[in-house]
């Protein structure tokens, strides 16, 4: 067994242990901490599976933003934990759930072990068609050119989720400020970090967007990093969340899918099909769409974490 294989076995065992801890922990706070560690270890697994773009996304969104979201919710729901202990299901239900879960896990494991050999793949098709866009990163090619409709629809799904979150406000608070007002000591450690880190984070985010054309990276990862910087600044109290009724905010939110849709319709009118890029200008078009997408994704992810409107005025 080579060293790499031994390390991968250790990593797999560690992931299982963290998953068991996340399910079995008594306090929700401990479970959320376990979930964040699980997300970061999964990013390592993605790197070992030669999928570095997915590793970046998992670390940023699965580990980072999900952790912030769940930690904030766990802190606000701390009062409900004593009530929940009384509702634990009895042994029969747990045994039944364990049998069902074991069956599902066995079925998935059998599916993994019985995968056909040689494996069917679209990698050669993706490689031969890469000249159509001139980009060096095959995943970006697939996301922005070969399966561009999926990406466009996914942007719309993000917006729908945000509208769903906003619609949970009570009637009198509609259009107000999401989430509680965060106050932090303006001379304290958090405010210091929120002044020092966002410039670095913004540069890193824009770099990942730019480098996503030829190296691992892309719009989603960059958007997640920019959203994290925005959330840091908001949580340190240096700036407040914009109100949900702000027109500029809504324009930024529709900029990403809007640009995507306009380019797609342009392909329909002036080209061969919806979202067909002319080969000569494919790369600038894709980069323009990605830039707009990054801005929208950053703002959408930040607002999804901020939550439903809870304040009428900015107090």
């Amino acid at each position: 067994m080579t060293i790499a294989a031994a390390l991968e076995t250790v990593l797999a065992a560690l992931i299982l242990a963290i998953a068991i801890w996340t399910i079995a922990a008594r306090e929700t706070f401990a479970a959320v901490a376990g979930f964040v560690v699980y997300g970061l270890l999964l990013a390592l697994v993605w790197v070992r599976l030669e999928a570095v773009d997915v590793a970046l996304t998992e670390a940023a969104i699965g580990g980072g933003l999900s952790g912030v979201l769940l930690l904030g919710a766990a802190a606000r729901l701390r009062a409900t934990e004593t009530r929940a202990v009384m509702e634990r299901p009895d042994k029969i239900l747990r045994l039944g759930a364990a049998i069902l879960s074991a069956t599902v896990a066995a079925g998935l494991a059998a599916g993994v072990l019985l995968l056909t050999d040689p494996a069917p793949t679209l990698a050669s098709a993706a490689a031969t068609n890469a000249a159509a866009t001139g980009l060096g990163n095959p995943v970006t090619n697939v996301l922005m050119a070969f399966r561009a409709t999926d990406t466009l629809l996914e942007k719309v799904v993000l917006l729908l989720a945000l509208v769903g979150v906003w619609s949970l406000a009570s009637d009198r608070l509609w259009g107000g400020f999401p989430g509680p007002r965060h106050q932090a000591d303006p001379l304290g450690a958090l405010a210091f970090l929120a002044r020092l880190l966002p410039p670095v984070g913004i540069v890193v985010g824009i770099y990942i967007l730019w480098a996503g054309a030829n190296h691992p990276g892309g719009a989603f990862q960059a958007g997640a990093i920019l959203a994290a910087m925005w959330l840091l600044v908001m949580m340190a109290g240096l700036t407040d969340v914009p109100p949900v009724s702000s027109r500029r905010l809504r324009l930024v939110l529709i900029a990403g899918p809007g640009v995507f849709l306009v380019v797609g319709l342009g392909g329909l009118c002036f080209g061969t099909a919806f979202l067909a890029y002319p080969v000569a200008s494919a790369k600038p078009l894709i980069l323009g769409i990605e830039a707009a997408m990054t801005l929208t994704i950053a703002v959408t992810l930040g607002l999804l974490v901020a939550g439903a409107p809870e304040r009428r005025d900015g107090q």
Partner: protein, 113 residues
């Protein structure tokens, strides 16, 4: 047994654990965490399929990778919507119990519509 298969088996177990946690844990927030565990395990299985499709000088098949990136962002937005629902339930009903027979206690939002 290659690295991809080891990770595939591990994530199948993680998906099973997530399903168990989803059914057994009474708190909605723990259910959301378990659901995310289940989803991440399924994504790794996608990654195993992608890794086995390595060809044409690429380390892994890029199409499942793109699908997984899309799936992760959608799963996060679903999680955010679910967390917002749980918080709203807590505001409106005073507790996050999903038990239909539980007595309703006063919520913290007096002008709740």
């Amino acid at each position: 047994m290659s690295a991809a298969t080891v990770f595939g088996l591990c994530s199948a177990a993680a998906a099973g654990l997530g399903l168990y946690g989803l059914i057994v844990n009474p708190e909605p927030l723990r259910k959301i965490i378990a659901f995310n565990l289940l989803g991440s395990g399924i994504f790794i299985i996608f990654g195993v399929v992608a890794r086995r499709g390595a060809a044409a000088a690429l380390g892994a098949d890029p199409v499942p990778q793109a699908l997984v990136i899309t799936g992760m962002v959608v799963a996060f937005s679903a999680t955010a919507l679910a967390v917002a629902l749980v918080l709203r339930l807590f505001q409106g009903a005073g507790s996050t119990t999903l038990d239909a027979d539980a007595p309703a206690s006063a919520g913290t939002d007096p002008t709740d519509a």
